[in-house]
């Protein structure tokens, strides 16, 4: 098996390490394994991650 080349970034939400494949594209959404935030790649060189907008949930109305 050939290993994918990756860059390591820090999750803006939980500070866990997030692996970004070198083949990743601009605006691609990646998931943080630590907090499961969806992160958008907003720049490529160097890679910049921001939190993708999320849908609110409320059961207690």
């Amino acid at each position: 098996m050939t290993q994918q080349m990756t860059t390591v970034r820090t999750c803006p939400e939980c500070e866990d390490e997030v692996q970004i494949r070198d083949s990743a594209r601009l605006n691609e959404i990646v998931e943080c394994a630590g907090c499961r935030s969806e992160l958008e790649i907003v720049a490529l060189s160097p890679v910049v991650l921001v939190l993708a907008p999320e849908v609110e949930e409320d059961w207690g109305e």
Binding site: E13, C14, C32, G34, C35, R36, S37, E38
Partner: protein, 341 residues
């Protein structure tokens, strides 16, 4: 193979111990003690064990010599019978409430009775590998804590240990019906229990005293029975020390539990199971822990979930046995839980 026996083997904890011990690769079950069913097949009472064992229950007086005895009797029975079992086995693992507290006065306050073997209280090592692993390695007497207590302790320990919270905390615990045992009375009829959210201990629950003991801070606990057979969820509320923020809380949990085989950090931004949920832990030995911080208010909520019969009882006891024997800690405990369930 080490030879083990379960006392109180016809109960829910007894049955769960047998399930784990019969399939454990380094253990031979030589006795399943029950005073009601001597001579009867174990799989008659615990039907999930059909085809796994031909074991028969035996009367207490007929138990053979063995290496390890697990006590899964009602509380009081363990402290009155402890000398007898101690003579028959090198290692006693008690799952009752009898040896969970190390102070006779606190014991009397919470259990409403005098302790029958106070001289042994200090000899029992608490069965929480996450806090007492080194002591467990050399223990001959182990006392496994209560299910809601384990959840409460693991939910707050990393923060207390690092002095990140104020000196007291509230614990709101919910439990499924198997927590009441197999011989529970009228209040546990399906007609009464189904759909109920029964606050059965708004104050003074016995597990409150255990949480205080292990965390070393005053704890106030409420206990509510909810619509589930297995499962405990404990939510802890505490004030943060001034200036403590989310990342410090997160770091505390990460550092504390990074290498723990059965504690998982669950504090997710997305998905249906963002926070610890007992439903998916049924049959597994995990305790999932999570947190949420209100930085503005300086307040913290932490959440822990587990299966009361597993990490809250029998599974934790097997984990302690593995630690004590120097075996891999997850031996016989690798079931990941079910989804959907």
């Amino acid at each position: 193979m080490i030879r083990v026996a379960v006392i109180g083997a016809a109960g829910y904890i007894g049955g769960e111990l047998l399930r784990l011990l019969i399939t454990h690769p380094k253990v031979e079950v030589v006795g399943a003690v029950s005073s009601r069913f001597p001579g009867k097949r174990v799989d008659g009472v615990h039907p999930n064990l059909r085809s796994f064992t031909d074991l028969l229950f035996c009367a207490p007086e007929d138990l053979e010599e063995c290496d390890v005895v697990f006590l899964a009797t009602p509380h009081r029975a363990a402290m009155t019978q402890i000398d007898h079992w101690n003579d028959r086995a090198k290692l006693v693992i008690d799952l009752t409430g009898d040896f969970r507290l190390d102070d006779t006065e606190v014991y009397e306050q919470y259990y409403g009775t005098e302790h029958a073997a106070p001289h042994l209280l200090d000899d029992f090592v608490p069965g929480i590998p996450e806090l007492y692993r080194d002591d467990l390695r050399g223990a001959d007497l182990i006392s496994v804590p209560g299910c809601m207590a384990v959840a409460g302790v693991l939910a707050l320990y990393p923060l207390v240990e690092r002095d990140l919270v104020d000196s007291s905390a509230q614990f709101d615990a919910r439990t499924g019906s198997s927590g009441s045992g197999a011989t529970a009375g009228e209040g546990n009829l399906h007609a009464e229990r189904s759909g109920a959210m029964r606050v059965f201990a708004p104050t003074g629950h016995r597990h409150e005293a255990e949480i205080s003991r292990h965390l070393g801070i005053p704890a106030a606990m409420t206990a509510t029975g909810v619509e589930a057979v297995r499962g405990v969820q404990t939510i802890c509320h505490a004030e943060l020390q001034p200036g403590v923020d989310t990342s410090e809380v997160r770091r505390a949990f990460r550092e504390q539990y990074r290498d723990e085989p059965f504690v998982r950090l669950v504090a997710q931004q997305r998905g249906t199971f963002r926070y610890p949920e007992p439903k998916i832990l049924v049959g597994s030995n995990f305790c999932d822990v999570g947190y949420a911080v209100d930085e503005e208010a300086g307040r913290l909520s932490t959440i822990a979930a587990l299966d009361n019969l597993m990490k809250g009882g029998a599974g934790n006891a097997i984990q302690c046995l593995n630690v004590r024997m120097g075996w891999p800690e997850s031996l016989g405990l690798s079931f990941p839980g079910l989804h959907p369930v």
